[in-house]
Symmetry: C2
Subunit: 337 residues, 2 copies
C-alpha cells in the first residue's frame, strides 16, 4: 500500500496531523506559510488521500453507481459518456453494473448498493423486471436514485426520458405523409415502457389520419436476427400491400432491410422504413432509412446533473424534476427519387 499519508507528512514537517489535514483542505484557519510547506511536500511525495478513510469519516463516497441492462448498445454507451463527463467535472467516480436484462442480477446489484458504496444511482431497469420491491428497499436507505430511459413509476423520484409517444406518432406520420397506407409496426419487449409509448404513438397517428389499426401488422421481434428476418419476410409475403415499416428498435430495421432485399422489394420505392436508432448503424446502412435518434448523451448528462445536484444539496429528488428530452427525426440525404 501507499504509505504516504497524513501522518507521514506531519512527521516530516513537524506538524500535527490535524494541521496537515486542514492545510490540504485550504482551511482558513491555517497560515499561508504552512499551507505552502504542506502542499509542496504533498506534491513532492505524490500524496493522494485515502478515499475510503475519507468516505468512512464523512459518510460521503463521491461515487455514483450506474445500473443498466447492457453497455454494448449505442444508446447506453453514449449515456455513460454523458454521465462520466458530468461526474468527472464534479469530482465523482462512476461504478458500473450490468444487469443483462436479468431480474435476479438487478436485485443482487441493488442489494450491494445498499451498503453505502455510492451516494447516488442512475438506473435503467431491466426488461425482465416486473417487481419493484428491491428498488423500494434501495430507496429506503441512503442513495438517491434517478431513472433514465427505462423508468420505474412506482418510485417517487426524477426520471429522464424521451418523448416516445410523440416520436412514435411522428414516425408514423412521416410514413403516412410519404404516401404509406399499410404500415407495419415492429415492437420489442412489450413489457418496456418505452415500447408501449411508441406503439401508442403509432396507433394515435393511424387514427388521426383515418387509417385502420390492423393487429396483424404488429410484430413482436423478440427472437434473434434470423428469426426476426424470417418473421418479417413472412409478414411481407402474406401482406404484400405493406408499404411502410416502423421499427421500434434498430435491430428490427436491419432485419426489415434484409427481408426487403431478400424479397426484391425496393427501399424506399416499394417499402419505406423508419426506425429508432439505438445502435447507430442504420444511418450507415442505407440513405433510404429514416431514423429517430434519442439524445442519449444529453440524457446521461441531464440525469447525472439532477442526481449530483441533489447529492450536493443533500435534498431528496422530487418527481417534479423529471425531464423529457426530444428525439430527433433524422431524414438521410434525400434519396434520388
Amino acid at each position: 500500500m501507499n504509505s504516504v499519508n497524513l501522518k507521514r507528512l506531519a512527521q516530516e514537517l513537524n506538524l500535527s496531523i490535524a494541521t496537515v489535514s486542514r492545510a490540504l483542505q485550504d482551511s482558513y484557519e491555517v497560515s499561508a506559510h504552512t499551507k505552502e510547506r504542506v502542499k509542496a511536500l504533498a506534491a513532492e511525495l505524490n500524496y493522494e488521500p485515502n478515499a475510503y478513510a475519507s468516505s468512512l469519516r464523512r459518510n460521503i463516497s463521491k461515487t455514483i453507481g450506474v445500473v443498466i441492462p447492457e453497455v454494448n448498445n449505442h444508446f447506453f454507451s453514449l449515456a455513460i459518456n454523458g454521465i462520466e463527463e458530468v461526474a468527472r467535472q464534479s469530482g465523482y467516480h462512476v461504478l458500473i453494473y450490468l444487469t443483462h436484462e436479468d431480474y435476479d442480477r438487478e436485485v443482487a446489484i441493488t442489494q450491494y448498493l445498499t451498503g453505502g458504496r455510492v451516494d447516488g444511482i442512475l438506473m435503467s431497469v431491466a426488461s425482465e423486471t416486473q417487481e419493484f420491491g428491491h428498488l423500494l428497499k434501495l430507496q429506503a436507505t441512503k442513495p438517491a436514485i434517478v431513472f433514465f430511459d427505462r423508468v420505474c413509476d412506482s418510485i417517487a423520484t426524477a426520471q429522464v426520458t424521451t418523448n416516445d409517444f410523440e416520436s412514435g406518432f411522428q414516425a408514423t406520420e412521416h410514413l403516412i405523409q410519404a404516401g404509406c397506407r399499410h404500415i407495419a409496426h415492429l415492437l420489442v419487449s412489450g413489457n418496456l415502457s418505452i415500447g408501449r409509448m411508441r406503439m401508442q404513438g403509432y396507433q394515435a397517428a393511424l387514427q388521426q389520419y383515418g387509417l385502420p389499426f390492423d393487429e396483424a401488422l404488429v410484430l413482436d421481434g423478440n427472437g434473434n436476427d434470423e428469426q426476426n428476418t424470417a418473421l418479417i419476410t413472412a409478414l411481407l409475403t402474406a401482406r404484400p400491400e405493406v408499404d411502410g415499416i416502423f421499427a421500434s428498435v434498430e435491430r428490427l430495421a436491419i432485419s426489415s432491410y434484409h427481408a426487403c432485399n431478400g424479397l426484391g422489394r425496393a427501399i424506399p420505392e416499394q417499402v419505406k422504413i423508419i426506425s429508432f436508432s439505438n445502435l447507430g448503424v442504420a444511418a450507415l446502412l442505407d440513405p433510404a432509412l429514416t431514423t429517430i435518434t434519442q439524445p442519449a448523451y444529453e440524457i446521461g448528462r441531464e440525469a447525472a446533473k439532477i442526481l449530483l445536484r441533489a447529492i450536493e444539496k443533500k435534498k431528496p429528488i422530487l418527481p417534479t424534476q423529471s425531464l423529457v428530452l426530444k428525439s430527433e427525426l433524422f431524414e438521410r440525404r434525400s434519396t434520388a427519387k
Copy 2:
C-alpha cells in the same frame, strides 16, 4: 445513512461486535446456533456491510478500475462486458474512467487511482499518450495493472492483445488471393501500437507475394468521415488501378464504401474491401465487405482474470503472463458472383 451496522446487530442480540462480524463471515470459531441467530437478524434488518470501513481495515477494496479511451465503440463496450462479467463473479466492483484519447485526462485519472481506491487497473492507453511517467508512478504504488489492446511496453506487466501483425498479413493475403494486385491501406493514428502492427503485416504480405510496396497507397485517416471519404475518393481517382482496400478500422471501411459507391466502383467486383470491425457495423453494411473481428469480449475476460488472480494471490503480474488472442477473419455470406 443506513444505521444497520454491526453495533446495532450486536446490541439487539446481546453479543459483541466481534462475534457478529465473525458469524457473518462464517468463521469456524462461532457456534452454529449463534451464526443462525446473527444471520437471521441481519437478513431481517437488511444489513449490508459498509464497504469503505471494510476496505479501510483490510486495505483491500474489491474494486478495479477500467481506464479506456471511450465506451462508445463496439470493441471497448464488449471488453467492458467481459470485464464486468469476470469481476461480478469474483465479487469485484468496476469503476470506469474515460480518457477521450486525452493525455491530460489520463494523467489525472491515474493520479486518483494512486489513492488506494482500486486494487487493480485494466487499461488501454490513449492515442495521444507518448510519455509514460504517470504510469510508472502508478506502478510504484499499490495497484496491479494489466494492459489490453492499447498497451504500454515501458511498464513491466502483462498485456492482453490480439495478433495484429498476423491479422494484417492475413487480411492482405486474403485480398491478394482474391486477385487484388493494387491494395491500398488505410491506417489510423500511426502512433498506436496496433496500427503499426497491422501495417507491418500488410507490408510483409505484399513482400511475400512479390507485390511492390507503394507508399502512395497508404492513407492516414485521421479526419472526420467526410474528409476521409474525400481522401479515399481522391486516391481512387488518382490511382484507378486500386482493386483492393485494407482498412485498419471500420470507420475507414465505411468511408471507402461510400467513396466507391460515389465513383460507381462495384464492390467487390472492381474493388474488394476488408476491414477490422471495431464498430460491428460493416458486417451489416454489405455482404461484400469482409471483416476481421477482434475477440473483444474474451480480451476483457482474460485481462480481468489475470488481474484478479494476481490480486487474490497478492503476487506481482509478470510480462510472461501476457496473452495474444486471435482475431477472426469473417467472410460474409458468399456474394452472388
